[in-house]
């Protein structure tokens, strides 16, 4: 979709986050039509043999740890494992796709219910890593960088998406329960709830300090929230966790609350679905449901050359198959018509400086992109602040030459990380 800039205007583009529309009352429940698929990260080294076999039966909420390295996925249905297949992801990530054919009778796994009355960080990390909202609880357990502040994101990070806004409004009791549990088990000093700026006053007596985020994109991205609301600038190349802050989506916190409240691992993911008509819907489907099932539910047909984007228009990821499953962090599904999607070109930078003026990280992108195009990633980091990028995508959005700047930046960061990983054992 090409959003044209206003006819007159010297300023930066005004892209604003979407507010939860009043017409959305509840999500539409979607059931998978066939098998669900879970993507289990495959270890990079060696030929790992999955610890489960085809035909094995699993219960709803059961942990499936395929490689015994701490990673696991959670079965969202009761059924039998129908297939195990390699699934290539982007940026060197490889998955094993575990297909589970649902059985008519749903049986819940009782492993969590045995321990849910005595919440602990270990239990949370043991059951909820693949829960809706992808809580990323391992971030709370790292001893070398203790987390003092939990930031509950009740705002969405990308345009058009209102999943987290809905969760913040509709599931406050679960969020409050989750906050209390997390405070208790992780020893947090402070909890901050992020909401849209105008909604700050609308909260009653709750646990956590409420802070308002500006409507202009990309002010809801964690590094910019850190700088704008907390006055703590994350040093380039470091993370919010290094400063003792942990950003978690409202849905993830609600998952924690639900899990320890009911003893059952939540398995349904909430997401904004934006179809070609530009109209957004809210859907709730088990994790692992193929995107095709979600689209079919809304009667959306894909045509040759369309794009299915997991996430929003600025930061999402286009997938190559409609069978791609809904993942724990899939906040949105965006279906883009072939004619409406933005295209890139191989034109050179004309040095107009639009990117420089729009960059929230104040990077010298006009010079940076010259190094990135030439593959000089180390120089790009040393001299042109590659590691300061917050990956908002505004540079590509305004680029007159339609250079895929964000893609270059992401690739460069990935390659540098890969090089360092390869060098570190020899250092």
């Amino acid at each position: 979709m090409t959003k044209s800039k206003p006819l007159w205007g010297m300023g930066r583009p005004r892209l604003e986050y979407t507010q939860l529309p009043a017409r959305i009352e509840r999500p539409e429940p979607i059931r998978p039509a066939g098998p669900v698929t879970l993507l289990h990260l495959r270890p990079a080294e060696g030929k790992a043999i999955p610890a489960v076999k085809i035909g094995e039966t699993v219960k709803t909420g059961q942990k499936l740890a395929l490689y015994g390295n701490g990673d696991y996925v959670t079965s969202p249905v009761t059924g039998a494992i129908a297939a195990l297949a390699p699934f290539p992801g982007s940026f060197d990530r490889n998955y094993t796709a575990v297909a589970i054919a649902p059985a008519p009778q749903e049986v819940f796994d009782d492993a969590l219910s045995a321990v849910h009355r005595t919440p602990s960080l270990a239990a949370a990390a043991d059951f909820l890593a693949a829960g809706p909202g992808a809580p990323g609880l391992h971030r709370l357990t790292a001893a070398e960088r203790p987390i003092r502040t939990l930031v509950v994101c009740g705002v969405d990070q990308d345009l058009l998406v209102f999943t987290q806004q809905y969760v913040l409004g509709a599931r406050m009791p679960d969020i409050q329960k989750g906050i209390r549990i997390l405070k208790q088990i992780a020893g947090l000093e402070e909890v901050v709830i992020l909401t849209r700026k105008e909604a700050v006053q609308g909260f009653g007596h709750i646990v956590g300090r409420v802070m308002g985020v500006e409507h202009g994109y990309p002010s809801a991205l964690p590094p910019l929230v850190m700088a704008g609301l907390f006055g703590r600038v994350v040093p380039a190349g470091r993370t919010c966790e290094d400063l003792g802050f942990c950003f978690m989506s409202a849905e993830a916190v609600a998952s924690v609350g639900t899990a320890f409240g009911t003893g059952r691992v939540p398995v349904n993911k909430l997401m904004t679905v934006i179809l070609k008509d530009g109209l957004a819907r809210l859907a709730e489907a088990p994790i692992g449901t193929p995107v095709a099932d979600v689209l079919k539910h809304f009667g959306a047909a894909t045509a040759e050359g369309d794009r299915i984007v997991i996430g929003g228009p600025m930061r999402g990821t286009a997938v190559y198959t409609p069978d791609h499953p809904v993942q724990p962090d899939t906040d949105a599904i965006l279906l883009l018509d072939a004619a409406a999607a933005a295209h890139v070109s191989d034109y050179p930078c004309i040095n107009c400086g639009e990117c420089v003026r729009v960059c929230p990280a104040r990077m010298q992108i006009n010079l940076l992109v010259r190094y990135l195009e030439a593959g000089k990633f180390e120089e790009a980091e040393e001299s042109y602040d590659l590691d300061a990028c917050v990956e908002c995508g505004l540079c590509s959005y305004v680029c007159v030459s339609k250079i895929p700047i964000l893609q270059y930046i992401t690739l460069a960061k990935h390659e540098l990380a890969r090089m360092r990983r390869a060098e570190s054992p020899n250092a």
Binding site: T2, G9, M10, P235, A236, P313, A388, V400, S401
Partner: protein, 319 residues
């Protein structure tokens, strides 16, 4: 999977604001046209011939170079046409055809394509071409000599040459309003101050050029001219005269802000504009040329990479 459709995989973002190089070129041409038309009205068909030849030969040189270098044809982006038009607008109306074609060759091939094409030129191509022609064919580029066969209903001397030769008294009686409305001689497209100002403001409002460069350019010019005028009012013309004659407004809005050869950061843009504006006045007042603004632009282009080192600290950077 019989009816499986192929999806396109691409990288984020999936939106674009629709800016295109071709649009920018068209905006610049649109903004420059009123001033060019004033020149055609003032100097007649020879001016129209020079402009048409400049634009067409620039486009053809671009196409020829694309072919010779076996590179994709880049005529469609309109940048060659812009360079041709801006180059033509600085020429005297009677310049012979071979000089025009040589000039566009210098602009397109020498000043731009051998540096790497669009976006890679260190110097403003139109300014380079005019500078070389001024050095090579001094007589042909001399406005007074070129327009000797014209009859005008206003003083028909190039104002900057007059003030250089005879001091401020020679131009004291010129009405500033006449100068502003194009009742003066000069390069074809550079005499219509009002049209240039309107075109420039249009480009700024449309976001094609940055306001910092023209504003600091004109300020630098006015301040420098003011200092000279205060020091010796008999010899040096006042700032308003400098702003309304020669290539001043044309340079401020169409030469100095050229994308590739001008800085992009706030403070560097201010310094760049001010440097170019003040050097232009220095050349006019104490240099060899009556109008040496293109050389000032080239000096600004030269220091541009250095200026862009002055940049804000990136987010999260301490050193």
């Amino acid at each position: 999977m019989p009816d499986r459709k192929k999806l396109v995989v691409a990288f984020a973002p999936f939106w674009h604001n629709g800016n295109r190089i071709t649009d920018r070129s068209l905006q610049i041409i649109l903004a420059a046209l009123p001033a060019a038309l004033i020149g055609v009205y003032r100097f007649g068909t020879p001016a129209l011939g020079v402009l048409a030849l400049a634009v067409s030969s620039a486009v053809l040189w671009e196409l020829a170079f694309n072919r010779v270098a076996k590179r994709p044809v880049s005529v469609g982006d309109g940048t060659a046409a812009v360079i041709g038009l801006l180059f033509g607008m600085m020429l005297p109306a009677t310049l012979p055809w071979w000089a025009v074609v040589t000039g566009t060759f210098l602009a397109i091939v020498v000043a731009r394509q051998i540096y790497g094409g669009v976006g890679a030129n260190t110097f403003n191509p139109a300014a380079v071409a005019v500078a070389i022609l001024m050095l090579a064919w001094k007589q042909r580029m001399d406005v007074d000599a070129a327009l000797v066969n014209y009859a005008f209903d206003f003083p028909a001397a190039f104002p900057l040459a007059a003030v250089k030769a005879f001091g401020n008294s020679a131009v004291k009686d010129l009405s500033l309003m006449d100068l502003f409305l194009g009742r003066q001689v000069g390069g074809i497209g550079t005499i219509g101050g009002a049209a240039l100002l309107a075109g420039g403001v249009y480009l700024v409002l449309r976001g094609v050029i940055r306001w910092e460069i023209p504003v600091s350019f004109l300020a630098g010019m006015a301040v420098t001219a003011g200092i000279f005028h205060a020091a010796d009012p008999a010899r040096f013309a006042p700032p308003a005269f400098h702003l309304l004659t020669g290539f001043s407004l044309f340079g401020a809005f169409f030469l100095a802000p050229e994308d590739s050869s001008s800085p992009v950061n706030f403070i560097p843009m201010l310094i760049y504009g001010a440097v170019v504006g003040s050097i232009a006045v220095l050349i006019r007042n104490i240099g060899v040329f009556a109008e040496g603004l293109v050389f000032a632009v080239l000096v600004g282009n030269l220091i541009q990479p250095l200026l862009d080192k002055i940049r804000p600290k990136a987010l999260g950077k301490v050193s």
